[in-house]
């Protein structure tokens, strides 16, 4: 048994080590840069691999699922645990929006796995880990990249950030938004987010919208500044671990879900906070 591992993050290697010790097989690490599903499939053939694994990141979710389809293998996504029962692999993964954890087995124990980064620690190893192999680029058939126009990223991506600072309508204009929301996000090493109203008014770009029709985030710390807390916004951040709300209206719905609330004007409170941090 041989596992091809997309070594984007070290946690994927941890999974591979556990897989190898349970199956008695070995694994091959490959580099994640500019990877495509076709490259993974070719690498599996070249190295004689049976199964494929990687982390459930944006890249992993995309490439692994495509590879599973090309290989006609079952896809097990968001794996949080791997064990062995009666010499068969048993994997645990959340289902129904995380309401249940399912323990599943696949026919022949070969599948494509995407694993939850948070569920696997760093790899334990006495000897240095092998260097992941670089793969020959194979373009995705039918797709030609004409140009790449990526906005300048000086902050972490919203859905990946540990801290998110979101601004509502009181941010008034792009400059104030950047100064208050962006400033606070930078101080905390987090990402900036915005409500739909702010995006509609052109104060913040579309990619920053948090909510039902925008990004769904669950950071460890969510700071809602001048956000009233409509259901559409709550739907996008309700799973955040700690929610801090700053709003002038003590009856604002955001205080219902907040762990810490501050009744204050963001134009006063945030500059003060920036000074003290």
């Amino acid at each position: 048994m041989k596992l091809l591992v997309l070594a984007e993050v070290p946690q994927a290697v941890t999974f591979a080590q556990q897989w190898a010790s349970l199956t008695g097989g070995s694994y091959v690490l490959v580099q994640a840069k500019d990877i495509t599903a076709e490259m993974l499939v070719a690498a599996m053939k070249a190295h004689g691999c049976d199964a494929l694994a990687g982390a459930a990141t944006s890249l992993g979710r995309d490439a692994l699922a495509r590879a599973a389809a090309l290989l006609d293998l079952p896809m097990l996504s968001d794996v949080v645990k791997i064990e062995s029962t009666d010499n068969r692999l048993v994997l645990t993964r959340p289902m129904y929006a995380g309401n249940v954890l399912a323990r599943v087995r696949t026919l022949g124990d070969v599948a494509v796995y995407s694993v939850r980064v948070s569920a696997f620690g760093l790899p334990t190893s006495h000897s240095p880990l092998p260097t992941p192999l670089a793969l020959e680029p194979i373009p995705t058939p039918g797709v030609t990249v004409l140009s790449l126009d990526a906005p300048e990223q000086n902050r972490p991506e919203l859905t990946q950030a540990r801290v998110v600072v979101s601004g509502g309508r009181p941010t008034r204009d792009a400059e104030t938004f950047e100064k208050l929301i962006g400033g606070l996000a930078d101080k905390l090493g987090g990402a900036a987010g915005a409500t739909r109203a702010v995006v509609d008014d052109g104060i913040a770009p579309n990619e920053l919208q948090v909510g039902q029709t925008g990004k769904v985030v669950a950071p460890e710390l969510y700071i809602a500044a001048g956000v009233s807390g409509s259901i559409q916004h709550l739907a996008g951040m309700k799973d955040s671990k700690i929610i801090v709300a700053i709003n002038t209206d003590p009856d604002a719905a955001i205080f219902e879900v907040a762990d810490y609330g501050l009744v204050a004007d963001i134009h006063v409170a945030i500059p003060e906070l920036l000074e003290k941090l």
């Binding site: 109203a197 039902q212 029709t213 807390g229 409509s230 309700k238 719905a253």
Partner: protein, 657 residues
């Protein structure tokens, strides 16, 4: 004795020629009317047509009384003049025919004479004049006003001109008849138009005039069914055969039918039944549906009339044609507000067609984005926001709210709805309702964590199976506790529970909270003190005012809470303009310029009211956001009718505020 000679100066030979031509004209008319017979019969068969008294009543209202046509004052008025004009002339001609053929048995002038004759003549004169005026008006409308939504072909003006000429020559003939028969002069005052014509008419050749008029009339009869004018026969047929489901109630999709056909929803034209085909053919292209469409009004691709015409065109071949000619953009833009259905004089159900296509596209996996996310959350957590059921009673903190059971001795079951349970804005509504119930001494209970989405969100967006799954689970819960009377805070829950659960085995007496609360005020159980300080306008929710025909109860409830007269927005009651949240649009993104709520906000702001009352949690969200965007300074507050009532409740014993 006032009467007239029939077929004056028309020889027997000419009469036979007339009968021959009339036979041809009727044949051409009959063929034209039934030329699409094969298209209709190619549709799925209808279930047995029952409920004839209700159908006849509907025909009386919408055909004879021109109920829907008259919703447009000017065009509808002109149409009514033409309809009644032609009907009167048809009856008049029938009377003449009865006299003429009856004469073979009873001798000439046996029936059409005396007072009766004079009344008929006077009536024909008046209705004929009305017809003439209306035809001129319609020609002017087509030539000058040319409304954009109105379909226009050369045939339209051509046919109207033919009708006009036939009407004019009818009056000329009347005048010539008076001129040619001096005995009629004595009572010609009963036909003032005919008399007037007789005075200015040079002594004409009566048979020539008779033939001119006859030829034109036969021409009208022959041309009648072409160029969509067979609506004259098809609209009554469409009304007579339409499904008796209430407006907005979709037909359940059965697993057996899918197993049999392998098809889910409207995939191609072959899935359209006989009535749907008939109703599409009955479309007169008046464009009223498009005029009232909120999605069209904000520049989206949806055009209800174009959908009707596109499907109709593709029915012609007789072969099933995939409905892919309807774009995804158009199909998903519909808010299911039913303004088009309400307006349509031909009783076309545009929304059923659109939702049918949605069923097919959802089954094909063609819905993506936040709408699809909502469906996934609805499937896993049984509410559209994917929040845990354990939080469903969070709104009731500090209130005395009991959970329902079979033996709870309740008066009503309060259906809180997902929004009432989870949306902070709607929570205020349900808290107000619960407090008002308590004040009125209404014993109510709630399902709490056992309540699920009614399935409305799934059904409108096209996931019929998820709807049925949720509905069946809810029906089991409701029947388990012996639910009879249910009060909802949401018009969408109301509609689904009241009009759609019946088909799946759930029959309940369901009321919207404004209905139940206003009844409590009327019966004296709920005592309110009218407040003075606010000026209030009310935004009618589509699913309450239009789909469920209730626009009085919320107004009564508002009146019981404020002493000032209520301000009405430009479009209200069943003509209300959608907030933009219906039909699953609540969960879909759209650019700020394409939000119906924006247009509605302008109308609500124009009333100058400082408070906008609503009766629907989705309207509350959309109207609040739209008002805040349209008027960032001095934004009117948006409250539910129940919150207004709560403010008018004496003794401040509200515990949650």
């Amino acid at each position: 004795m006032p009467t007239r000679t029939i077929l004056l100066q028309i020889s027997t030979g000419q009469q036979w020629l007339f009968y021959g031509l009339a036979f041809v004209a009727l044949g051409v008319c009959g063929w034209g009317t039934l030329r699409r017979w094969k298209v209709w019969r190619g549709g799925k068969p209808l279930p047995p047509v029952k409920d004839w008294p209700a159908r006849i009543q509907q025909l009386g209202a919408d055909v004879l009384a021109q109920r829907k046509v008259r919703r447009r004052k000017l065009a509808g008025g002109l149409h009514a003049l033409i309809f009644y004009g032609f009907t009167a002339l048809f009856i008049g001609t029938t009377i003449v025919a009865i006299e003429h053929y009856g004469a073979l048995l009873f001798g000439e002038h046996w029936f059409y004479k005396g007072i009766f004759y004079l009344i008929v003549k006077a009536a024909l004169d008046v209705f004929g004049l009305g017809l003439l005026i209306a035809l001129v008006g319609m020609l002017v409308r087509r030539a000058v006003a040319r409304p954009e939504s109105l379909g226009h072909t050369a045939y339209d003006s051509w046919f109207l001109t033919l009708c006009l000429l036939a009407t004019i020559t009818g009056f000329v003939l009347e005048g010539a008849g008076i001129a040619a028969d001096p005995a009629r002069l004595a009572f010609a005052g009963f036909t003032p138009v005919g008399l007037g014509v007789s005075k200015v008419l040079p002594t004409g050749n009566y048979p020539v005039l008779w033939w001119t008029h006859t030829a034109l009339v036969l021409g009208v009869i022959a041309a009648l069914p072409y160029g969509k004018r067979h609506h004259l026969f098809l609209i009554p047929a469409s009304i007579a055969l339409e499904p008796m489901r209430p407006m907005g109630a979709l037909e359940p999709l059965s697993l057996e039918s899918i197993e049999k056909t392998g098809k889910i929803g409207l995939s191609d034209t072959g899935e359209l039944d006989l009535w749907q085909r008939l109703s599409l053919d009955a479309c007169m292209e008046c464009g009223r549906c498009t005029d009232v469409c909120p999605a069209h009004a904000v520049g989206k691709e949806l055009n209800p009339k174009a959908i009707v015409l596109d499907i109709r065109r593709n029915l012609t071949s007789g072969e099933p044609v995939a409905l892919d000619f309807l774009t995804d953009e158009a199909i998903w833009a519909c808010t299911n507000c039913h303004a088009c259905v309400t307006e349509c004089p031909a009783h076309i159900r545009h929304v059923d067609l659109i939702d049918g296509v949605r069923r097919h596209r959802v089954a094909e996996g063609r819905l993506s984005g936040s709408g699809a996310t909502m469906l996934r959350q609805l499937g896993s957590r049984e509410n559209p926001w994917g929040l845990p059921a354990s939080q469903r009673l969070d709104w009731a903190k500090g209130l005395d709210v009991q959970k329902a059971s079979a033996e709870d001795g309740r008066e009503v079951l309060f259906w809180v709805g997902c929004s009432g349970a989870f949306d902070p804005r709607a929570q205020k509504t349900v808290q107000a309702i619960a407090t008002l119930f308590e004040a009125a001494g209404v014993k109510f209970t709630v399902l709490g964590p056992k309540e699920r989405c009614t399935g409305d969100a799934a059904r409108r967006i096209g996931d019929e199976f998820l709807f049925q799954q949720l509905a069946e689970a809810n029906i089991q819960t409701l029947n388990g506790i012996g639910a009879k009377k249910i009060v909802t805070q949401c018009p969408h829950c109301l509609h689904t529970l009241k009009n759609e659960y019946g088909a799946l085995g759930g029959d309940y007496d369901v009321q919207h909270h404004t209905q139940f609360l206003s009844e409590l005020v009327t019966s004296g159980r709920l005592k309110l003190e009218q407040q003075e300080e606010t000026s209030v306008t009310y935004h009618d929710p589509c699913f309450l005012a239009r789909v469920n025909g209730e626009s009085d109860a919320p107004r009564r409830a508002i009146k019981s809470s404020i002493s000032l007269p209520m301000l009405e927005p430009e479009r209200s009651r069943e003509k209300t303009f959608c907030c933009g949240a219906g039909g699953g649009r609540m969960w879909m993104e759209e650019p700020p310029t394409q939000r119906p709520g924006k247009a509605r906000a302008e109308e609500l702001l124009a009333t100058g009211a400082s408070t906008v009352a609503v009766g629907c949690p989705f309207c509350k969200v959309m109207v609040s956001d739209s008002l805040a965007a349209a008027s960032p300074e001095n934004t009117p507050e948006v409250v539910d009718v129940a919150e207004l009532m709560l403010r008018a409740l004496p003794q401040k014993e509200t515990t949650h505020e």
